[in-house]
Symmetry: C2
Subunit: 180 residues, 2 copies
């Protein structure tokens, strides 16, 4: 299972590719940041994000793309740019037929550190350990992107089991075979 994690942002969009399955050691295939100049026009910045994400998709051919779910409760000044960059990342993946999963920051933190309220340093330390790196990836956006990919690999089996259980339950609840 190869996952591209995307920590969306207009100034710095973290990207990281992780391969592996739950319960086995994971491998980092790449990590980086797509940057766009803060003084460029918004449309041009979105085009630059698109070109950056496309390059990562071309190079690593991920089977899944995991994007941080953006909440509007966040910092009012940055949330719009984050939502717009995440839209571009989701668009690039969906255009290629790659499934997109959204994970909240606390789901990601809980997945890699055991606590949904872990700080950046703790996430960076666990990403370094889980991927057997020499040092935490810099900047934090890059480490967060890897954490998103790890979170997706670890949560996917549970989500699949949950979906199967729901499907089974729905099939049982509709004995006339409408959904079976």
């Amino acid at each position: 299972m190869r996952v591209l994690g995307v920590d969306p942002g207009l100034t710095r969009c973290g990207v990281g590719v992780v391969e592996g399955v739950a319960g086995r050691p994971l491998t980092m295939l790449g990590v980086g940041v797509v940057r766009t100049p803060a003084d460029a026009e918004l449309g041009q910045r979105l085009v630059a994000v698109e070109q950056g994400i496309e390059r990562w998709l071309d190079e690593h051919r991920p089977e899944f793309v995991a994007v941080e779910r953006v909440f509007s409760q966040h910092n009012v000044r940055t949330v719009m740019g984050t939502a717009q960059a995440s839209a571009v990342a989701m668009l690039c993946a969906a255009r290629r037929g790659i499934p997109v999963a959204l994970h909240t920051p606390s789901e990601v933190k809980a997945a890699v550190t055991g606590s949904g309220r872990a700080d950046k340093a703790q996430v960076g330390a666990m990403v370094t350990r889980l991927l057997r790196l020499d040092a935490p990836p810099k900047p934090a956006d890059a480490a967060d992107a890897l954490a998103l990919a790890i979170c997706h690999i670890w949560r996917a089996p549970a989500q699949n089991r949950l979906q199967q259980a729901v499907a089974l339950h729905t099939a049982k609840a509709a004995p006339k075979g409408r959904l079976a």
Copy 2:
């Protein structure tokens, strides 16, 4: 001057094309709504918005795209979808090298009705009158997209004059020729 106005939204994205110059009667070249199913995955909905906007750009070849500026103070439940749809519209335009302008809802209302706090009905009535239509365009998102295009045509000369004045002032304030 031919402008595509976009009232961004995931469920209904209003689009309208207006041609003309400030101080002269305006002509509507097209109006409509790009819709995406609420039960589709977010990535797929963004792809559908992209395809819809691309069709409008192909057909009408606008020189400018005017998009409603999204504020995060709005309804928390819908603002993310609005920001994401607007990102796709801006991306489509910028990718073709078409300048993108953002106008706030109150700028648009003030431009077409004289009041930044006008209601939907008043905006619809003025769009109908200014474009010499038989009836207000439905739904309101379509009328809003036309209002955005009209706003851009009317504001553009003032914005250009302002930019020229700023450029002149900057040039005067830098007599050593650094910016001249």
